[in-house]
Amino acid sequence: MVERNISPAVEASLTALAVSLRGVTKAYDNGVTALGPFDLAVRKGEFISLLGPSGCGKSTALRIIAGLSAPSTGTVRVARHEGSVQPGHVQPGHGIGFVFQEPTLMPWTSVRENVRLPLRLARVPKADARARADQALASVGLADFADAYPRELSGGMKMRVSLARALVTDPEILLMDEPFAALDEITRFRLNNDLLALWRRLRKTVIFVTHSVFESVYLSQRVVVMTARPGRIQADIRIETVEPRGEEFRTSAAYSDYCRRVSAALAPSYSGQSTL
């Protein structure tokens, strides 16, 4: 254990944290170190972005927070988890919603059944679960598509279904792994706005992995810039602007200013790599 002699004040401040990672590393069996040591503290209700080059371990960090992957060393604390995740142990968290890069929907069943899945696995009674699934679908604007099959939806709509499924358990923490990377720009902007609106309404803790500077600045309160593999924190930039953000923020001078700062922080991560 890394923690020793924690003062009561620190202990109190820790409780306001949704996620904290200390000295977390991840090494694969082939000896490649993918991550760390990596420290991260996310307050409850905060929207942060993890930004870094491909292969820097940002997705690995997200999978570790979700409990889908075990850290090699270090401690992971996630609110609602009882206790902490020990190195080498996988402990899936129930207070967590996860949105993958692909929509990751089950093609063999309807949109409603896809959204209901987490509740079904938790053995929530059917009527209740259906009502909550429909509510989650309504919150992403897909109330009319509950009976459609995934293949009948566009890429953006599938991503919304995936988001609804992550929200259906009403998790404290929403982890998003480059969710909009495969979408066209217009759809992406619309989903960015919808995500911000959802976040303002629900005030979930969001950890958003992306490799888009513009997306990270637009969405998040904090942009955590990571180095190339093994990923560490290069910079932690707070984005302060008038809330709620909207399209006018995207075209403001402050926005391009932040983008320039974040890009500058990101640049060293790409040094030594080919321009591709």
Binding site: G67, L68, I96, E102, M106, L121, T169
Partner: protein
């Protein structure tokens, strides 16, 4: 895309019609040529019966042949059911435990690659005849079900598996809600192959049993008619076997299409 759609639809409709018409034309032409050759050359029916004679034999011998058809179909059905249940169950077992898979898979392969015609006489010695015939059909048909189901169970989307893990799904829930549905297209593909193969297995075993002097399936009729130089009846029985194979394939393909039509690419291609 939308502007081209009518043209594509028009040409594909003509193409689809031709896909039905052309084989029928070829078949009819072949029959006419066959009939003509037999009549003009005066070939006796015990050398080569004309198609008309075969059809007449089919009608005249219907009482015997239909009985044999029922026997063969029953054997095929039993072998097919055993192969389906056995193949899927074994694949599930393999999926649950790597050790079981490592221990048993080589023997499944051995059973598959050993020609069933060589196993049949042995089985007929140790087993009651009807059981032996069903076991032969099972042996031939179960491997495609096993290997396809195994492939399907291993083809689960990695992220979906992660999702199930995230929500703490039990092994039973993962099997029921994720693995089996994901494997369904593969399982159905395996069953489609197994249907035809169980007919082959049944026929092979019947022939092996028939030479031992027992049995009443279609294959036995063929062997028996061969000894009696009743060539038209051989052809009639062969025709029935062939039709049975086509019907079995058609039924399984239809079932597969109906089950998958709402979501799987293989079934969607036909509609779009």
């Amino acid at each position: 895309m939308s502007a081209q759609a009518p043209i594509i639809a028009g040409s594909s409709r003509a193409q689809r019609a031709m896909r039905f018409v052309l084989p029928v034309v070829v078949f009819a032409a072949g029959l006419v040529a066959w009939e003509l050759v037999v009549r003009l050359k005066g070939i006796p029916p015990y050398v080569l019966p004309a198609p008309s004679v075969i059809v007449l034999t089919l009608i005249r011998d219907w009482a015997v042949l239909s009985q044999s058809l029922a026997t063969t179909l029953l054997t095929t059905l039993e072998g097919f059911l055993a192969a389906s249940i056995g193949g899927i169950a074994l694949a599930l077992l393999f999926n649950q435990s790597k050790w079981v898979e490592y221990s048993l898979f080589p023997y499944a392969v051995v059973l598959q690659v050993t020609p069933v015609i060589a196993i049949a006489p042995l089985l007929l010695i140790y087993l009651e005849q009807q059981t032996a015939v069903v076991v032969c059909a099972f042996i031939v048909a179960f491997f495609p079900v096993l290997s396809n189901t195994t492939l399907g169970l291993n083809s689960v989307d990695r992220n979906l598996a992660g999702l199930f893990q995230l929500y703490g799904a039990s092994p039973q829930q993962t099997l029921r809600f994720l693995k089996l549905p994901a494997a369904l297209p593969y399982i159905l593909g395996g069953l489609r192959i197994a249907g035809g193969l169980s007919l082959i297995g049944a026929v092979v075993a019947e022939i092996a049993a028939g030479t031992a002097g027992a049995g009443s399936g279609l294959a036995y009729r063929i062997a028996e008619s061969g000894y009696r130089l009743n060539i038209p009846r051989m052809f009639a029985a062969l025709l029935l076997l062939s039709l049975a194979g086509i019907v079995i394939y058609g039924v399984l393909a239809l079932v597969s299409h109906l089950v998958l039509r709402r979501w799987h690419e293989s079934a969607l291609g036909k509609e779009n």
